[in-house]
């Protein structure tokens, strides 16, 4: 099975049959020779609960930290991790993965847990002062193994916005986490990737996390 389970110990049944015979009326317990050893984290991931593009000024955001353990299970360590920002005046940590965008600029999210450090860069913008033309993305979050359609819209200087999902070029920074084709995102494995879309020299991007399954 795994190194935790030693089949050779089968012969070493701890409860002798003689004792069992005496306890026949109540029935004897079975004896399993192995107890699981405590698992240790092998790797860490930083997740965004919802697809996240640039952060908006005076908005708050939540982040999640996971570790993959030596027993193969995922464990959420959001509350145990230490959270910080390289530029607290722009993006301020409120603890337990909560951040507030206080000022325009570039910043990031740092999570540290048992020797592991993860970082995501964040740009804080003022949505009311966005330039045009621009691309806007409407994204959804698929579960692992499923697919969801994201859409991108070109907002021109004048005129109506146009859906350019099909014409734009889509890329994923980590195809092992998620792949994307014409806006259709397929979640492959737990992790965080940046989905970038380019059209007519304009670029937009969002962070996208695939959450570990709960069962």
């Amino acid at each position: 099975m795994t190194p935790h389970l030693n089949r050779n110990r089968r012969l070493g049944i701890r409860v002798p049959m003689v004792v069992c015979a005496a306890l026949l009326i109540t029935g004897c317990e079975a004896s399993y020779p192995t107890t699981p050893t405590s698992a240790v984290p092998l790797a860490m991931q930083l997740h965004v609960p919802q697809p996240l593009g640039d952060a908006s000024l005076r908005s708050s955001y939540g982040f999640t930290a996971y570790v993959i353990r030596s027993d193969g299970a995922w464990e959420e360590v959001t509350n145990q991790a230490a959270w910080s920002s390289p530029n607290p005046t722009v993006f301020r940590s409120g603890g337990s993965g909560r951040f507030v965008a206080d000022a325009l600029g570039t910043a990031g999210v740092i999570a540290q847990y048992q020797g592991f450090t993860m970082f995501i860069d964040i740009v804080v913008i003022d949505p009311s002062r966005l330039p045009v033309p621009r691309l806007t993305i409407g994204a959804t979050a698929p579960r692992i193994g499923t697919t969801a359609q994201s859409r991108v819209t070109l907002v021109p200087v004048t005129g109506a916005a146009t859906d350019v999902t099909g014409e734009a070029v889509w890329t994923s920074s980590d195809p092992s986490v998620a792949t994307v084709e014409q806006g259709r995102v397929t979640a492959r494995s737990p992790g965080t990737t940046r989905i970038t879309v380019t059209h007519l020299g304009l670029t937009a991007a969002y962070l996208f996390s695939v959450r570990p399954p709960e069962r």
Binding site: M1, T2, H4, L5, R10, I13, M17, C20, A21, L24, I25, T26, G27, C28, E29, A30, S31, Y32, T34, T35, P36, A39, Y66, R69, D71, G72, A73, W74, E75, E76, P212, P213, E214, R215
Partner: protein
């Protein structure tokens, strides 16, 4: 002169009183009662009152009277005793049972201590409810005994013993050791030659004979005046004892009445005068024989659970190993009732078995130890010196204790990771099988049990199957064997 006057006056008064009395009130001569007392032997006397007979023992300290009979008989007897043994009081009245014809006269002997078997008063109360007139003079008894009692009076002992009797549940016989005479009322037909149980219950008759034989009387005297020589009685007792033993042994072997009747008794018994009615005697004893036997058994078994049962190794598992054979042991206690039926209480414990199953991102390994209590009804009984094939069936209760680990990868805790498995579940079920038994003598037998068990209800998650079979070999030892006659 004065004295003469007084005498004349007294004579006149007496004459006047005699003249004043009505004619019908004059004392009429009582007809002479047909009652006689005669010495039997030693200090023991035989009392005959008409057709009724009883006995009394006279000692220097008083008289012990058995069954004073009716009030009229007792009144006459009391007068006779006062005449024949003046100044010797009746100290004890022993009542063989409560029937009015034997016990109503007890009230005449007001100062005597009444003695009877302990169920006397209960039987008397019952009879009073049914016939209050007949039993209104029968006295209650406070001095009672359970099985036996010895009364010593004037240096002489008298032994009372309770005997089985359909005539009265509290029936007692009275034995006079010095005279070696036993007095009994309403005995079984022990005087008939050849002996026949007649309408009596063999259990009552044999019980009566056993009690009386232990007393070893030289003479038996019955309430109808008939006597029986002790030697003839002992011969009958020995004959019936041998017959009962023989019938019991052959009954236990499963033989029929006709088979037993075809088996001759030992030569020593064949000369008995009762041998001529042996077939009827065997028939009566056989029909009343009950065998009860307790046995304790211990067996080594191998228990098999179907391998890789489809319920346990369902399709989603890419790897699965479960079930198989494991060693175990069982102990049981069995009671055999008669030669056809028995009940066995059986406890079985198996060595634990291992199971494992896996699919992507899931692995599980468990050990299961099963114990079982079963109450089984058995058809047939082990036959001494023979192979016996005994089907059994009944209910069982199986407890499965499961320990192990499951390992789930790729998902969040708490679902993901290693998880200890500890599960204890009980299921009832039906157990069928057969015992192949060979008795070896000395109360031991070798048994080969085969059992098939099907458990009811939903299969517990970690039980490899709901069906198992076990077989083994072991020994049984007989703890108790009692053959009784009803």
């Amino acid at each position: 002169m004065a004295l003469r006057l007084e005498s004349l006056t007294l004579l006149a008064v007496v004459t006047l009183m005699a003249c004043a009395s009505p004619l019908h009130a004059q004392a009429t001569p009582q007809p002479k009662r047909d009652q006689e007392i005669r010495l039997l032997r030693g200090n023991l006397y035989h009392v005959r009152d008409g057709q009724e007979h009883t006995v009394l023992l006279v000692t220097r300290d008083g008289i012990l009277l058995v069954d004073p009979l009716s009030r009229a008989a007792a009144t006459a007897l009391k007068q006779q005793l006062e005449t024949r043994f003046p100044g010797v009081p009746v100290r004890y009245v022993v009542l063989t049972h409560h029937h009015a014809d034997r016990a109503a006269g007890a009230g005449i002997f007001e100062k005597a201590q009444l003695v009877a078997e302990r169920s006397y008063s209960e039987a008397l109360s019952r009879s009073r409810r049914e016939n209050s007139d007949e039993y209104r003079f029968v006295r209650d008894v406070r001095d009672t005994f359970a099985t036996a009692r010895t009364i010593t009076l004037g240096g002489t002992s008298v032994r009372l013993a309770h005997v089985r009797s359909r005539h009265a549940a509290e029936m007692a016989v009275v034995y006079f050791p010095d005279e070696k005479l036993l007095f009994a009322v309403a005995p079984p037909p022990v005087t008939s030659v050849p002996f026949s149980f007649g309408v009596t219950r063999p259990r009552d008759t044999l019980g009566w004979i056993d009690v009386v034989a232990d007393l070893q009387p030289d003479t038996l005297l019955f309430d109808d005046g008939e006597t029986m020589e002790g030697a003839a009685f002992q011969q009958l007792a020995e004959y019936l004892s041998a017959l009962r033993t023989d019938v019991a042994e052959q009954y236990e072997r499963g033989r029929s009445i006709t088979e037993i009747q075809a088996t001759p008794l030992p030569a020593s018994q064949r000369s008995a005068p009762h041998y001529a009615a042996r077939n009827a005697q065997i028939s009566a004893v056989y029909r009343s024989t009950r065998l009860v036997r307790w046995e304790l058994s211990g067996r080594a078994i191998a228990s098999y659970t179907s391998r890789n049962d489809a319920m346990f190794c369902e399709r989603s598992f890419s790897v699965c190993s479960a079930g198989g054979a494991v060693p175990g042991g069982s102990v049981g206690a069995a009671i055999t009732l008669g030669h056809r039926f028995g009940i066995t209480a059986e406890g079985t414990l198996n060595q634990q078995m291992w199971s494992s199953r896996a699919r992507p991102a899931f692995q599980e390994e468990t050990v299961q130890r099963f114990s079982r209590m079963a109450l089984l009804f058995r058809y047939g009984a082990p036959r001494p010196g023979q192979f016996s094939f005994l089907p059994v069936a009944g209910m069982s209760r199986t407890t499965g204790d499961v320990r192990g680990l499951s390992h789930i990868t790729g998902v969040l805790t708490p679902v993901g990771g290693y998880h200890p498995i500890e599960e204890r579940t009980t299921r009832t079920g039906q157990t069928f099988g057969v015992d192949l038994v060979r008795t070896t003598g000395g109360g031991f037998s070798i048994g080969l049990p085969i059992r098939l068990t099907r458990m009811n209800g939903e299969r517990p998650q970690h039980w490899p199957s709901m069906f198992d079979v076990h077989a083994g070999v072991g020994i049984s030892v007989q703890l108790m064997r009692r053959v009784s006659v009803r």
